[in-house]
Symmetry: C2
Subunit: 300 residues, 2 copies
């Protein structure tokens, strides 16, 4: 029972703004499934069934609150091809719930290989993640020709990209914060994203374009700098919750209409049932997602 493939008639950033405004949320829910932490009833399933059931449960719980869900592909790849098949089930279920999918895969490779990745994640084959994914995280280390296949496909098929700028982990500073041309590399990446959009037909118009940037919610000062350097990029702000970011830390990322940024929490939401005696494990998940949504709304 494969659901209908989502139609994407408007550019990604327009659809994103519509969804933000229609559900009144700036929250992304990350799906980082670790089977040892699953509710007991799911832990007894085989890993593929457990991953799929958990992902479906999270989607059902957050569909009215999350602007997008963000499955982290590593937690599926840990189970090999069966894990990928579970991911397939999760992204298809997102379509049945009408929730856009931001796949957190952080891919990056030379042009011919990047084109193969673009097929995998933005392609047409319904037996792959391609038709079910709305946006993808990518790594900029290999430069412009590694971004182009994703960018071209984003323009053609109305998808979105989030390029790593300043990641949420402490080690992010090791290379991203090194001074190059008088400013940190992460700002160089942010300016490059802005320039690449200006140079690409179909990405050069509108308040926002298809290349967003990833900046940790854990680094509010860097966030304000990136916001200024990349005025046409939606910002994805991971690290809300368990990693220590707060709604107040990310307020500088939003524009006057409360658009242009989305904050992401994973473990703090999806494992909200831990240590509680509840009948339905998805209830605390839904409740925590609403708390985080409201917390973000309150700082606008």
């Amino acid at each position: 029972m494969t659901p209908s493939i989502p139609t994407r008639e408007a550019p990604f950033t327009e659809r994103l703004a519509d969804r933000v405004q229609s559900i009144g949320s700036r929250l992304i829910v990350g799906i980082d499934p670790v089977i040892d932490r699953f509710p007991e009833a799911l832990r007894s399933l085989d890993p593929e069934a457990a991953l799929a059931a958990f992902g479906h449960g999270i989607l059902d719980a957050v569909a009215d609150v999350a602007v997008m869900v963000k499955p982290q592909i590593a937690f599926f790849e840990r189970y090999g091809w069966r894990g990928w098949r579970a991911l397939q089930s999760v992204v298809e279920h997102a379509a049945t719930r009408g929730v856009p999918v931001l796949l957190d895969a952080k891919r990056g490779d030379i042009g011919s290989t990047a084109a193969a990745y673009a097929d995998a994640f933005f392609g047409d084959d319904p037996e792959t993640p391609g038709p079910w994914v709305d946006a993808l995280t990518i790594n900029p280390y290999l430069g412009k020709d590694s971004i182009d296949p994703f960018l071209n496909r984003s323009v053609e098929s109305h998808r979105g990209l989030f390029v790593l700028s300043r990641t949420s982990n402490p080690g992010g500073a090791d290379f991203q914060s090194r001074a190059t041309d008088g400013e940190p590399l992460y700002l160089g990446v942010a300016r490059a994203a802005t320039r690449w959009m200006a140079e690409t037909s179909g990405a050069d118009g509108g308040a926002y374009g298809p290349i967003g940037l990833v900046v940790g919610a854990t680094y509010p000062e860097e966030l304000a700098e990136v916001r200024e350097a990349a005025p046409r990029s939606w910002l994805l702000l991971p690290g809300l919750g368990v990693q220590g970011g707060t709604a107040k830390d990310v307020v500088s990322a939003f524009d006057g209409a409360g658009l242009g940024a989305l904050a992401s929490s994973s473990r703090g939401i999806i494992y909200a049932y831990e240590g509680r005696d509840v009948g339905d494990w998805t209830e605390p998940v839904h409740a925590q997602a609403k708390v985080d949504r409201d917390s973000l709304q309150s700082v606008l």
Copy 2:
């Protein structure tokens, strides 16, 4: 008929040196499968069967010539979970042929996610790539704490890493060649790899340690710089052949014993049958791999 999981009693770099010397080769054969370019008999199979059969054929053709095979995971991911299952078949077949596998996946993510990737690619579950993979390419953009899970696992289970330094594509210069602390970022990455090994028990001894570096065969000057900055890293030199690198370009990468570097060619070898009227498509593949092997041996 799953083959026996390879035992890895000696550290990766020792096993690598033994294999280089026992087969007399410095060549890595990249497996970048594009079904449209397959021999006609394979194109009629379903994609999963075609990918697996092509990978097996390449392995059978180059098993005596290639130090390692290097499957590029993007070309499998393009076919979703079935592509991953084909990759599984290919890496298991490598074990039956006794050929070590360098998986070209270029992963990189924050610590908890990197640990999940390390499980996927260096873990024990025989239904995943984990037990069948000897070495992995990784991306340094997220810094030291994104490398640690791979490094620790490499030390424990005798695997190898190849961290991207200066990639073979023109866009590699966009960020990798920016000046930081008075030298290009790719040299900063090379020095960091050397330092990380020195700081890690089990990685700090021997002529070479578990963190190798990727430097395009297409950039001989940068290659010589990286060689000097990272004396304990094996260098992986992609871009031989179709991308324009030659054996003479890479000679500076080898030590006095002809160790410490491996050059990689993909399309120039695996599609060597194109435009030829041959009965067995693997024969030109074998012949071209021998030509490339001999060309590398001749410059030592």
